[in-house]
Symmetry: C2
Subunit: 496 residues, 2 copies
C-alpha cells in the first residue's frame, strides 16, 4: 500500500483553502445530525514520526464543537499497555453515540513498533492482527463509523523534519529516541507498516495521505471524514449480520438433563471449604507474582446462590488483588456505547482477580428476551463474545464461567423465603417474579448460550446449586484446579 | 495518640467469635438500609507495615454482598500520584450512595512516607494536612459516613512479622524495601504518624486498634463500623452547615455595571488572533515540558459565545495535550456522589490543559435556582469550591475562570437567530427560553458567585461578549499573560 503510493501534486493554495472551508462547514452541519441519529465515529490517524499527525487532527477538529469530539493519544500511558490486554487502551476510549473520537496513533503503531523491537513474538503479532480485525468488525457491526488514515512521508522528508525539530531548542524534546530509531530503520518500518495495513484492510479500508503537503492532506482527510459521515447518515445505523466462526467448543449438556440432586454433608462442607480456601489463597499469591489475570464469570437463575458462592471464593483472596463487579442494567453512558465497552473498562490488571456477578452474557439472555437489542445483535453476540474472551485468554487471562443452576421448585421456595424474611426482602423484586414466568424462554436461551460459547479457552461450568454448599465446593474445586493448571502453563508459555 | 495507646488484653476466643458473628449479621442487615437511605460509607484503614491491614479488610467484607462494597489500594498506582493533585487518587474512588468503600491505606501513609523521605517540603506537608481536613469535612457535609482506623503494632511485633514473611519463599516478595526502611525508622514513623493523626483528628476522629490481636481488632473494627452506620441511619443523611472561611478575594464589579460596548475591528481581530494563538502554541510547549497543569473554566449566559471562544483557545493547542470537557447535567452515577466528584475525575494530568465548558459552578447557579440541592448545600459550596480550587493551585495548576457576559437584548437576538437558522436550531431548546425568564435570579446568583469565589489563586474574569470577537481576543490575552506568569513563577517555585 505504501510502495505504490503516488505523491500528490502541488495545488492552487486559494482553491485548497476554499475547499477546506467548505468541508469544515459541512462537518459542522453534520455534528448535530450525528447526534440526532446517535451515530458514533472513530477516526484513527496513524503515520510516520514527524508526518504531522497532531497538526492534522488539530485541523480536523478546529471547527467541531467540543461537545462532540475527543482526542486520545493512547500511547502516552504505557502502564495500561503493560498490564492490560492489547486492545484495552483503544476499546476503553471508543466514542459514545453522537460523538467523534480521534485517535492519535493506536493499534497499528503499537504493534509495528513492538514487532520490530522483537518485544512480541510472531505468534503474538498474528494474534494482534486478528484482534484488530475483530475489534474493527465489532464496532462496525455495532453501528460505528470508522475511518483509518495513514499519513505518509518519505525518508528524505522525515529527515528534514526531524532535523528541523531537533535544531530548535523549543521543539527538540519532541523528538524521542524511538523517532530517530524509526528513521534509521525506515525501510524495515515501511515494510512492516505495509504488511500491517494489508492484513487489516478488509473490514475497514486504509487511506494513505501524503503528509508532505499539509494543506492537501487536511483537505483529503476532511473529505474522507465528511464523506464517511454522509454515507453513514444516509444509510442509517448499520446492524451487522450474524456470522459463523469455528471456535473449539466443548460439549455441554442441556439444562433439563442436569441432575440437581448432588449435595454435601455439613461436616464435609466445612472441611473442604477450609482446605480449598487455603489453597486458593496460596494460589492468589502465586498468580499475583506471575502477573496472571483471572476473570471469573457468574451467571445463573435468580436466587440460585450466586452471591453466596462468590463470597466464598472472594473470602480467601487478598482484597488488594481482586474486585467483584456486580453488573446491573447499563447506565446511559454505557448504553450509548458498544455493548462490551462496560466490560472492557472493568477488566482486571494483570495479576489481579476479578469476579463478574452477571456478565456480558446479558446480551444473549435478558437483552435477547426483553428485546433490548435486535435479533441480529444477539445472534451476532455469540461470536463477538467468543472473540472477546479469546482476546482475554490470548493476553494470558484465566477465564472461567459458571452457570449456577437450580430447578423451578427450588427457586420458588427461595423466592417465598425471601418474601417472608424481612432482612431478605430487598433481594426479591417484581422483576424476579416476571422473569420466573419466562423460565422456558430463558432455559432455551441459556442452552443456546452454553452450546455456542463454551470454548476450550473460556469454558462454562454448570454448578448444581439446589444444595448451595455443594455448589460452593464445586466452584471452588474448579477454580483451584484451573488456577493450578494456569500457573504451570505460565511457565511453559514463557518459552513461546 | 500512639504514645498513650493501651494494648488490649487477651479475650476468650469463643466469646470473641460469637461477637464477631453477631456484628457481621448486623452489618449484613445494614447493607440494604444503607441502600434505601442512599448513604455512602468510606472506611480508611491505615497502619504499620505488616500490621494486617489487608487481612482486616478481608474480615470486614467477608459477609457483605459484593454489590455493596469496593476495596481500593490507591498506593499501587504511583503514576496517578505523580501526575495529579495529592487528593486525586482518593477523591476519585469515593463510594456512591448506598455503597461502602474500603481504602487500604490512603492519604496518611502517602503523606507520612513522603515527608520522612523529604520528598515533600514542610510547606507541602502543611498544605496536605489542610487538604485532608477539607476533603474529610466536605464528604461529611455531603452526607458521607467516614471511619478512620489505624492498625497499631509495636516495633518488636513488626520485627517478628517481617521476619516471618521474609523467611517464607512464598511471602518474601510482600516485604518491600520501604517496609524494612519503616522498621529501621520505627521511632521517626511513630512520631510522624502521631503528628499526622493529631492534625487530622478534628472532623473525623481516628480510632487506633491493636494489630497484635487479630480477632480483637476484627471485633473492634466491626463494632466501630456497625455503630457508625447505625448512628448514620438513625440520624438520616447529614447536610453540612454553611461556614465562613477567609479567602483572599478579588473585588468584582456587579454584572449590571459592566460596560458591554467594547468591540474590535475585523482587521485588528485577525491580526491579534494570529499573534495570540501563535504565542499560546509556544506556551503550550513550555507548559508541557515543565509539567504545569492548566484548567480553564468557562461559564456564561446561554448564547454568550462560550463555544466559539473555547474553539479559538483550543485551536493552537496540540490535541495530544489538551481536553475540552463539556459539562451537561449529571448522569446517575455522578449524581450519586459528592458534587465535585465528576470534576475531580476529569482533571488534566500535569502538563496538560483542560477546558471546562461549564463547571462545578453549576452548584451555585442552576442547582441553586432549580432546587437540585438544598439551600445549605449551595451556600456551603462557595467555600467548598474555593478549597477545591486552592488544592488545584497548590498542586501547581493555573486556574482561570471566565464569565462570558452579554446583555439580555443580545441574547434575544442570538436566540432568535438560532431559532431561524436551520443549522443552529439544535443549539436552542425550550430550557434556554425558560432560563432566560429567570435572568434576574441568575444575575443575582452570578453576582454572588463572582463576589465569593474570585480568589487570588483562581480568579474570575468577566469577558464582555456582546462583540464575540472582542471576547475571544480578551480571553486569549488573559490566558497568554497568565500562562507566561506561571512559567516564570514555576522557576521561582522550584526553590521553595
Amino acid at each position: 500500500m505504501l510502495n505504490d503510493f503516488e505523491k500528490t501534486k502541488p495545488e492552487d493554495k486559494d482553491a485548497l483553502n476554499r475547499e477546506i472551508k467548505e468541508l469544515r462547514a459541512r462537518l459542522m452541519a453534520q455534528q448535530q445530525l450525528l447526534r440526532e441519529k446517535k451515530l458514533p465515529v472513530l477516526v484513527l490517524i496513524e503515520g510516520w514520526s514527524a508526518a504531522g499527525k497532531g497538526s492534522l487532527i488539530k485541523e480536523l477538529i478546529s471547527e467541531i464543537d467540543p461537545r462532540f469530539y475527543q482526542v486520545f493519544s493512547p500511547a502516552v500511558t504505557p502502564e495500561r499497555e503493560m498490564r492490560y490486554p492489547f486492545m484495552y487502551p483503544y476499546a476503553s476510549v471508543i466514542p459514545e453515540n453522537g460523538k467523534i473520537v480521534f485517535l492519535d496513533s493506536g493499534w497499528m503503531e503499537s504493534t509495528v513498533q513492538k514487532s520490530l523491537k522483537t518485544e512480541i513474538s510472531r505468534g503474538e503479532y498474528q494474534r494482534r492482527i486478528r484482534a484488530v480485525n475483530e475489534f474493527e468488525r465489532q464496532l462496525r457491526d455495532g453501528g460505528y463509523l470508522l475511518l483509518k488514515i495513514f499519513l505518509h512521508i518519505d525518508k528524505d522528508e522525515q529527515f528534514e523534519r526531524l532535523q528541523g525539530l531537533t535544531e530548535n531548542a523549543d521543539t527538540a524534546w519532541r523528538v524521542a529516541a524511538d523517532d530517530l530509531w524509526q528513521h534509521r530503520e525506515y525501510k524495515r518500518f515501511l515494510k512492516t507498516y505495509d504488511e500491517f495495513m494489508e492484513a487489516t484492510n478488509e473490514t475497514i479500508h486504509w487511506h494513505v495521505l501524503d503528509g508532505r503537503r499539509r494543506k492537501t492532506a487536511v483537505r483529503d482527510a476532511l473529505k474522507l471524514l465528511v464523506n464517511r459521515i454522509d454515507k453513514g447518515l444516509e444509510k442509517g445505523r448499520y446492524v451487522g449480520e450474524p456470522f459463523e466462526e469455528k471456535f473449539p467448543l466443548l460439549e455441554m449438556p442441556r439444562l433439563k438433563d442436569v441432575d440437581l440432586s448432588p449435595a454435601i454433608e455439613d461436616e464435609d462442607y466445612k472441611k473442604e471449604l477450609k482446605k480449598l480456601q487455603t489453597r486458593l489463597s496460596e494460589l492468589h499469591n502465586i498468580l499475583y507474582r506471575k502477573k496472571i489475570p483471572v476473570i471469573l464469570c457468574y451467571e445463573g437463575w435468580d436466587a440460585a446462590g450466586k452471591g453466596g458462592n462468590i463470597r466464598r471464593v472472594a473470602h480467601p483472596l487478598d482484597p488488594r488483588g481482586f474486585d467483584v463487579h456486580p453488573i446491573a442494567s447499563p447506565e446511559p453512558h454505557e448504553l450509548n456505547r458498544q455493548f462490551l465497552w462496560r466490560f472492557w473498562t472493568r477488566l482486571p490488571r494483570s495479576g489481579h482477580i476479578c469476579i463478574f456477578d452477571r456478565t456480558w452474557y446479558g446480551r444473549v439472555m435478558v437483552e435477547r428476551l426483553e428485546g433490548f437489542c435486535t435479533e441480529k445483535d444477539w445472534k451476532r453476540a455469540y461470536n463477538e463474545i467468543n472473540e472477546f474472551e479469546r482476546q482475554l485468554t490470548d493476553w494470558g487471562a484465566v477465564v472461567l464461567k459458571f452457570w449456577i443452576h437450580i430447578d423451578q421448585d427450588t427457586q420458588l421456595a427461595r423466592f417465598t423465603d425471601r418474601q417472608n424474611t424481612p432482612e431478605k426482602q430487598w433481594k426479591i423484586t417484581e422483576e424476579d417474579w416476571r422473569n420466573r414466568e419466562k423460565w422456558p424462554q430463558y432455559e432455551e436461551a441459556v442452552d443456546e448460550m452454553l452450546r455456542k460459547t463454551s470454548t476450550k479457552n473460556a469454558p462454562w461450568f454448570i454448578i448444581e446449586s439446589n444444595d448451595k454448599k455443594f455448589a460452593r465446593i464445586k466452584a471452588l474445586k474448579i477454580i483451584v484446579k484451573e488456577l493450578e493448571k494456569a500457573c504451570e502453563e505460565h511457565f511453559a508459555r514463557s518459552f513461546e
